[in-house]
C-alpha cells in the first residue's frame, strides 16, 4: 500500500465515490424541491444550474488569468530565473506534459499552486518565500506536486465539485426563501409533505455539499502527492519540502478562501477551519505517507 501506483488508484477511486455522493445529493435536493414545492420548486432547478454553470465555468475557463490577478502572480521567462525554469522543465520531461507558464508571487510565505483549464493552458506559481527556503530537491518535489495537479486535471475536478456544491446551495437557498416569503401560500393545502419537514434537509444539504467538496479537495491533494512521486521517484524531496512548509508560520498575504484549495499547503490558519472542512489533508499525515514511500520504494521497474 505504500507505493505510489496503489496510492494513486485508491485516491482516484475515492474521488469517484465522493463525486457520486455529490450527484446523489443534487438529485435528492431536486427531488425535494419538486415533491414539496410542486411546479415552482421544479422551476428552481434549471435556474440554479444555469446560475452556477455560468459563474463556475467562467472562472474555470479563464482560471489561469483569473488566479493570476487574484494572487498578484507575475508570469516569468527563462532569463528571470534560469534555475527555477530548469527544475520545471526537468519535471515536465518526467511527466510527459507540455511546458506550463511559470509565475512568481511576491510573498514571504512559502507556497505554490497550479491552475489552468487543461495541460495546454497550465500555470504553476511559486511564492518568493518558497523559492528562498528550498533546495533543488525540495523545489523539484513541489514542482512535481503542482505538475501532478495539472496531469490529474484538478482544476476540472474542483470546478465540477464547486458546480454541484453551488447548485445544492442555491436550490436550498431559494427554497428557504420561498418558505419564508409565503411560497406555500397557494399550495399549502395540496402538498403531500408538510412544509416544515423540508426545512431540515434544506439546512443540512448545503453543509453536506461543502463537506463533500472539501473531502474531494483533500483526496486530490493526496493523489497529487502520489503522482508527484511517480514523476520524480523521489519521495524524500517532496517530504522535506512539506517539512519546510510545516515549520513555517508565515501566512500567505493575499489569502482568501476562494483560492485556498489551489495552494500546495493551505494558506489559511489551521484553527480557522476544522479538519472536516479543510481543503488539505493534515501536513503531518502527508509527510508520514511520503515517509512510507521512501521506506518501500517502487523504483524496481
Amino acid at each position: 500500500m505504500a507505493d505510489f501506483r496503489a496510492l494513486e488508484s485508491v485516491n482516484k477511486r475515492k474521488t469517484f465515490f465522493l463525486l457520486f455522493f455529490m450527484a446523489v445529493l443534487v438529485w435528492s435536493i431536486s427531488y425535494l424541491a419538486i415533491s414539496a414545492f410542486g411546479g415552482s420548486g421544479a422551476g428552481v432547478i434549471p435556474l440554479a444550474v444555469l446560475i452556477t454553470l455560468v459563474s463556475v465555468w467562467g472562472s474555470y475557463y479563464a482560471s489561469d488569468k483569473l488566479v493570476l490577478r487574484m494572487t498578484r502572480a507575475k508570469v516569468i521567462r527563462y532569463e528571470d530565473n534560469p534555475n527555477l525554469f530548469n527544475v520545471v522543465s526537468e519535471v515536465v520531461i518526467a511527466s510527459g506534459l507540455p511546458m506550463p507558464k511559470v509565475a512568481i508571487v511576491n510573498d514571504p510565505a512559502p507556497n505554490a499552486f497550479a491552475t489552468g483549464r487543461n495541460p495546454e493552458h497550465a500555470l504553476i506559481a511559486f511564492t518568493t518565500g518558497l523559492l528562498g527556503s528550498m533546495d533543488r530537491d525540495e523545489l523539484q518535489g513541489v514542482t512535481a506536486h503542482e505538475m501532478a495537479h495539472v496531469a490529474n486535471r484538478d482544476t476540472l475536478v474542483s470546478a465540477v465539485a464547486a458546480t454541484t456544491a453551488g447548485v445544492v446551495a442555491l436550490i436550498s437557498d431559494i427554497l428557504m426563501r420561498m418558505l419564508w416569503f409565503g411560497g406555500g401560500r397557494s399550495r399549502s393545502h395540496q402538498n403531500q409533505m408538510p412544509i416544515f419537514l423540508a426545512i431540515i434537509p434544506l439546512i443540512l444539504a448545503p453543509i453536506a455539499a461543502t463537506l463533500l467538496k472539501a473531502a474531494i479537495s483533500r483526496r486530490r491533494e493526496s493523489l497529487a502527492d502520489a503522482t508527484a512521486v511517480s514523476f520524480t521517484r523521489n519521495p524524500a524531496g517532496l517530504r522535506s519540502a512539506l517539512e519546510v512548509l510545516a515549520r513555517d508560520n508565515t501566512v500567505v498575504e493575499a489569502r482568501s478562501s476562494a483560492v485556498a484549495h489551489i495552494y500546495i499547503e493551505s494558506p489559511l490558519d489551521a484553527s480557522a477551519a476544522s479538519k472536516l472542512f479543510a481543503t488539505h489533508p493534515p501536513i503531518q499525515e502527508r509527510i508520514e505517507t511520503l515517509r512510507r514511500m521512501e521506506a518501500n520504494p517502487l523504483g524496481s521497474n
Binding site: 527544475v87 522543465s89 520531461i93 511527466s95 510527459g96 533543488r136 523521489n234
Partner: protein, 184 residues
C-alpha cells in the same frame, strides 16, 4: 429482419472495438518513439555542454589529464553509438566519467567559486536530471506498450497494427539507476 439488425449491430460493435484496440497499440508505439527521441535530445544537449565544462576545469586543474581523457572518450563513444543498448551503455559510461570530473573540481576552490563554472555546474545538473527523467519516461511508455502487446484483448491486434514489444533503456550502473537526482 430482426436477425439482420442484430448481426449488423454486432458487426458494428466489433468494428469499433477493433479500431479502439488498433489505435491504442499505434498510440503507445508512437509514445515510445517520442520518449526515445526525448532521450536523444537530452543526450545531445549534454554532449554539447561537455567541451565548455572540460575547458573550464582544465584551466585550473591542468595535471588531471586522465580524467579529461575519460570524459572526452566517453563523449565520443556516446555520439557515435547507434543501437539502443549501445546508446544506453555509452550514456552510463559518460555519466560516470562526468561524475569523476566533478569530483576533481571539488579539489580546486578557485574553480568551484568561479561564476562560469557554477553556471556550467547548474547546466550539467539540470541536464543530468533531464536525461534520467527522459530515460524513466521512455521506460514507462515501453512498459505500457509491452503490457498491451502481451495482454488480451489488445494482444489480438498486434499483427494487424504491426507493433511489437520494445526494448527497455537500461543503464548498466546501479548508482545511476538509484540516483535520479544528481547533486554535484
Amino acid at each position: 429482419m430482426d436477425i439482420s439488425i442484430i448481426a449488423l449491430a454486432l458487426i458494428l460493435f466489433l468494428a469499433v472495438f477493433a479500431i479502439i484496440q488498433y489505435n491504442k497499440l499505434i498510440r503507445l508505439n508512437i509514445q515510445v518513439d517520442e520518449g526515445f527521441s526525448q532521450i536523444e535530445v537530452q543526450l545531445k544537449r549534454r554532449a554539447d555542454l561537455i567541451p565548455n565544462l572540460v575547458e573550464a576545469v582544465r584551466g585550473y586543474a591542468t595535471q588531471e589529464r586522465e580524467v579529461f581523457e575519460r570524459v572526452v572518450q566517453a563523449r565520443a563513444a556516446s555520439t557515435t553509438a547507434s543501437t539502443l543498448p549501445a546508446i544506453a551503455a555509452a550514456d552510463g559510461a559518460l555519466t560516470n566519467a562526468l561524475r569523476g570530473l566533478l569530483a576533481v573540481a571539488e579539489a580546486y576552490p578557485d574553480l568551484k567559486s568561479s561564476t562560469n563554472f557554477l553556471q556550467l555546474q547548474e547546466e550539467l545538473a539540470t541536464t543530468e536530471n533531464k536525461v534520467s527523467f527522459a530515460r524513466q519516461f521512455y521506460n514507462d511508455t515501453v512498459r505500457s506498450l509491452n503490457t498491451a502487446v502481451k495482454t488480451i484483448p489488445s494482444s489480438l491486434f498486434v499483427g494487424l497494427a504491426k507493433v511489437g514489444e520494445r526494448e527497455f533503456y537500461e543503464v548498466d550502473d546501479s548508482a545511476v539507476r538509484n540516483a535520479p537526482n544528481v547533486k554535484f
